[in-house]
């Protein structure tokens, strides 16, 4: 902890706010009494208690997402001092060292804003469905153990299966573009979601689901439908969109070897394309 941090009385948090989808965004600044060992979540909790800006104006509490508070659920992603990351593991002392006196919070830019710092990441979950990210077992009855697996294979699969669908990788990706079907007045939740899903058709999957496809192709039973996953990876919005800029791998909080997954997905997809040409 630096001396300046311990002597500090208070610090400011600038937040990009938005009342709802399609609404104008605006900045609001909050003044927080300094305490050591705060993280961004505890700052947001303090703001909820105050509901007053730095200028003393009454305001609404800021909306944001979180659950585990220990960097394992993936809920709390936002852009903090210009960098996408989990807010629960973003420590105020460190942030103030980087950026003296002020912390800046913004919602992720690649997803529709729901309100303030809360965004709709449904597209990421739908992408998991597109690549069939599961093991297609026959049933849930007792059929003994799963396939034997080498330590090496487990050690390769394990890091990939730590992906918490937080979205940092796609936020940082130059090829992943925002898709937003703005809600129409009086549209039901289901109608809106259907339009949003429709709009995402053929748009880039992003690094996380590509890596998940590889995770399941690597499993003995999961690999039995690898062709179906490769079909998804080679169709519109698939692996070919990746420009290999490697931004994703450098922001992943779980340090998942995304570019390795992407390279492997690329090779498997090439083989699959050959195979389908000759099968025809």
């Amino acid at each position: 902890m630096t001396a300046s941090a311990t002597q500090r009385q208070s610090f400011d948090v600038r937040i990009l706010r938005q009342a709802g989808p399609g609404q104008q965004s605006y900045w609001e600044t909050f003044r927080i009494p300094y305490e050591p060992n705060l993280n961004v979540i505890s700052v947001l909790q303090k703001i909820a208690t105050m509901a007053r800006t730095a200028e003393g104006k009454e305001t609404t509490p800021v909306a944001w997402d979180c659950n585990c508070l220990e960097e394992v659920c993936g809920a709390c992603t936002m852009v903090i001092n210009g960098r996408v990351r989990q807010s629960c593991s973003a420590l105020v002392d460190r942030l103030l060292e980087e950026h003296d006196g002020e912390i800046e919070l913004q919602p992720m830019t690649k997803f529709p804003v729901v309100r303030d710092l809360m965004v709709d990441r449904g597209r990421m979950f739908r992408a998991l469905e597109r690549v069939k990210a599961w093991v297609p077992v026959d049933d849930y009855y007792d059929r003994g153990a799963g396939p034997k697996e080498s330590q090496e294979s487990q050690e390769q699969r394990y890091p990939l299966s730590e992906c918490m669908t937080c979205g940092c990788c796609v936020e940082a990706c130059p090829q992943y573009l925002k898709v937003e079907a703005t809600r129409r007045p009086n549209e039901s939740i289901e109608e809106h979601e259907a339009r949003q899903t429709e709009a995402e058709q053929g748009k880039f999957l992003g690094a996380a689901p590509i890596s998940q496809a590889i995770l399941f192709n690597d499993h003995t039973t999961g690999g039995m439908i690898s062709d179906q996953r490769l079909e998804a990876l080679t169709s519109a919005g698939g692996i070919q969109v990746c420009g290999n800029s490697q931004n994703c791998v450098s922001v992943c909080p779980k340090e998942i070897p995304l570019t390795t997954s992407i390279a492997r997905a690329g090779r498997q997809a090439t083989w699959y394309s050959f195979k389908t040409i000759f099968d025809r």
């Binding site: 208690t49 305001t59 508070l69 469905e129 849930y140 330590q151 487990q154």
Partner: protein, 660 residues
């Protein structure tokens, strides 16, 4: 008749397991959850999941021993048939999770590896790195996503369960819920509702649990007449990192590797820890328990740390309870090699390197053993009847409870790595039971005859919502009240419980509840209003908090995690054999008397204001007779000897066959 549907509320391990099993049985499922299911609290579990396996079997292990460890660990407060059934299912559950692709750690030959956990002598615990819960949750999430793709499960994420819909005959016909984004309130008609909504750590303000663990769903159900059982049984883990927002778990292995626990002798000494000389440090565990030192049993460590901070005022910091857990005397390389993983968590969240500075730790609320009362139907052999519609149903027909939000499996204290098991087990097991129940129903909740009921219940919830929004400004602040509630609960009802403190906490909680009824909202918007959702869950914390405190106040004994010094039964100090024997006899008499009075589940029912009334229910201990839990107690050997002799005498006196 419209097609029957089941509504599963909660998408942690329990809810997901239930949803996928029901879908397999060709029952239409609606899965509703506050958070996207993949972000459920189950993701936090680190250690592993228990079951007997081929290796431990060869060392003499059996399902029976797993069952026995669980019941002994829980201080005999569980009905035994469900626990027996769970232990019997455990190996099959691990196999299933293995088939679903969970990356369990492997041996050189490619088998699943196992580790040892507290409360057992066998390496029974399967694990996937240090994120077993996450891996299990994801495997189930993937299966449910697959069911969703096949059209068998509808998923409603970002919906808050507001309560069951109960018809004139008292049967549950669905539930109301509110969308967290649009604030729309809907009635979900369902022929059964399964609650899998997890624990209630947020009653204590901060705990090792996630933000969604408010207990709101359980509370809303008890306010419709469901019974709540053993609310006072809350597990407190000795070592967690106190944070401004959350208490994060710090594994016991830090002490196992030589970590020393201490506080400065001068209260709130402002010097840096390394500037405090050895003689001004109070290594309280080492001083008070010279034999065990820092490795006293977990419940004792928890109690002593709590005592030194709360009652002796020696917390390291003035406004925050904590003691030092010091590793700085251990060489860095050794620390990195043996404890790298957990040191990383401390560094990440505290911004301090525990290799240079002692960690600040404190016990933290960790698990709710109590929960919604649920029924079961036993077989003559002592297990559960596999398709009985009674299994896991609450006292409201059609409303089921599973996972951490039910009370069945862990009694007075939960053994590590048994919760992930109970969650998946209850999720899978309840499916066929519900199928039987649905088959017996003449109607479907989707039928026209229930339209009026659905509409009435929805309007009622809309009214309540509107009333909250219309609160006059200038009232109480819900976040401040939550802080006060958490402080009260933590002070009175965690590690050490005293009747005077509990009584004063009860009084304060009633007061706070009144104040909470006068909260005003700083946000009266109709879009993603987290303020109003928080206020609702805050209001619903009070009935459970009251049941918890009143249950603890009434229970004048020590059992499992519930410890009252006034009713402690100290060990036997005497060295003289005859006197030792006499004292052991007296100890056993006292133990018998205590069990007669208190080996009972606490059952709370609630009136319209959310105030509980307590009653007690006998526990089915027909399979394993209760015995004293003597771990670490002085003179345990002689107590055990006397106890065994008594048991023998009793079984000889009893004619064969009379016990069944």
């Amino acid at each position: 008749m419209a097609k029957q549907r089941v509504l599963v509320v909660g998408g942690g391990l329990a809810g997901l397991a239930a949803a996928m099993k029901l879908a397999e049985l060709d029952i239409a499922v609606d899965l509703l959850s506050l958070v996207p299911v993949k972000r459920s609290h189950s993701a936090c579990a680190q250690g592993g999941i228990n079951s007997v396996n081929d290796t431990t079997r060869q060392l003499g292990d059996s399902e029976y021993l797993h069952f026995d460890d669980t019941v002994y660990g829980g201080d005999f407060l569980q009905h035994q048939p469900p626990v027996k059934e769970m232990a019997d299912w455990a190996p099959r559950i691990i196999d299933l999770m293995d088939r679903l692709g969970v990356p369990f750690n492997r041996t050189v030959e490619g088998y699943r590896d196992q580790r040892r956990f507290g409360g057992t002598l066998f390496k029974r615990t399967a694990f996937a790195g240090a994120t077993t819960g996450q891996q299990l949750l994801y495997a189930l999430d993937e299966q449910v996503r697959r069911c969703h793709a096949e059209g068998k499960v509808e998923i409603y994420e970002g919906w808050d369960y507001l309560g069951p819909i109960v018809d004139d005959e008292g049967r549950c016909r669905g539930a109301t819920a509110q969308n967290l984004v649009t604030m729309e309130i809907r009635a979900f008609p369902a022929d059964s509702v399964v609650l899998a909504t997890g624990g209630c750590g947020l009653l204590f303000g901060r705990s090792t649990m996630s933000m969604a663990c408010t207990g709101s769903a359980a509370s809303r159900s008890v306010q419709y007449g469901a019974k709540y059982a053993n609310g006072e049984f809350i597990q407190v883990h000795p070592t967690a990192i106190p944070g401004a927002d959350k208490l994060r778990l710090m594994s016991e292995s830090a002490r196992g590797e030589g970590g020393r626990v201490w506080v400065p002798r001068t209260p709130q000494d402002s010097r840096l820890p390394r500037d405090i000389p050895e003689e001004e440090r109070y290594y309280f565990l080492e001083e008070r328990y010279p034999k065990y030192g820092n490795l006293v049993p977990r419940d004792i460590a928890t109690r002593e740390i709590f005592n030194v901070c709360v009652n002796e005022g020696l917390s390291v910091e003035g406004d925050k309870q904590c003691v030092y857990l010091d590793l700085t005397h251990i060489p860095r390389e050794e620390l990195d090699r043996k404890l790298g993983g957990i040191l990383h968590i401390y560094e990440k969240f505290q911004g301090v390197d525990p290799r240079d500075q002692p960690m600040k730790i404190f016990p933290a609320v960790h698990y709710s053993m109590g929960g919604l009362w649920a029924d079961y139907e036993r077989t003559a052999a002592g297990g559960l009847n596999p398709t009985s519609p009674r299994n896991h149903v609450t006292n409201i027909p059609g409303l089921y409870a599973i996972g951490e939000c039910d009370y069945q499996y862990h009694g007075g204290n939960r053994l590590g790595a048994n919760s992930l098991l109970s969650c998946i087990f209850t999720g899978l097991f309840v499916g066929p039971c519900i199928a039987t129940d649905l088959a017996s129903l003449g109607a479907s909740a989707g039928d026209e005859q229930f339209d009026l009921l659905m509409r009435a219940e929805r309007s009622k919830k809309e009214m309540e919502h509107k009333q909250l929004l219309d609160r006059p400004a200038g009232g109480e602040n819900p976040y401040v009240i939550h802080q006060e509630l958490g402080q009260e609960m933590t002070k009175a009802a965690t590690v050490v419980r005293r009747n005077d403190q509990l009584q004063s906490a009860v009084d304060k909680i009633y007061e706070l509840h009144e104040r909470a009824r006068n909260c005003s909202l700083s946000d009266t918007g109709t879009w993603t209003n987290q303020n109003v959702m928080f206020t609702k869950s805050l209001l619903d914390m009070f009935p459970l908090a009251k049941a918890l405190l009143q249950g603890a106040l009434a229970r004048d004994e020590c059992r499992g995690a519930h410890y009252k010094p006034e009713f402690d039964m100290p060990g036997i100090e005497s060295e003289d054999p005859a006197e030792r024997r006499q004292q052991a006899e007296a100890w056993c008499d006292k133990f018998d008397a205590k069990n007669k009075k208190w080996l009972k589940s606490t059952i709370a029912t609630f009136d319209s204001k959310g105030d509980p009334t307590l009653s007690y229910e006998d526990v089915d201990t027909s399979l394993i007779p209760p015995r004293p839990r003597l771990y670490g107690i002085v003179g345990g050997d002689i107590i055990e000897q006397v106890w065994k002799e008594r048991q023998q005498k009793a079984s000889q006196a009893e004619p064969a066959g009379a016990s069944s």
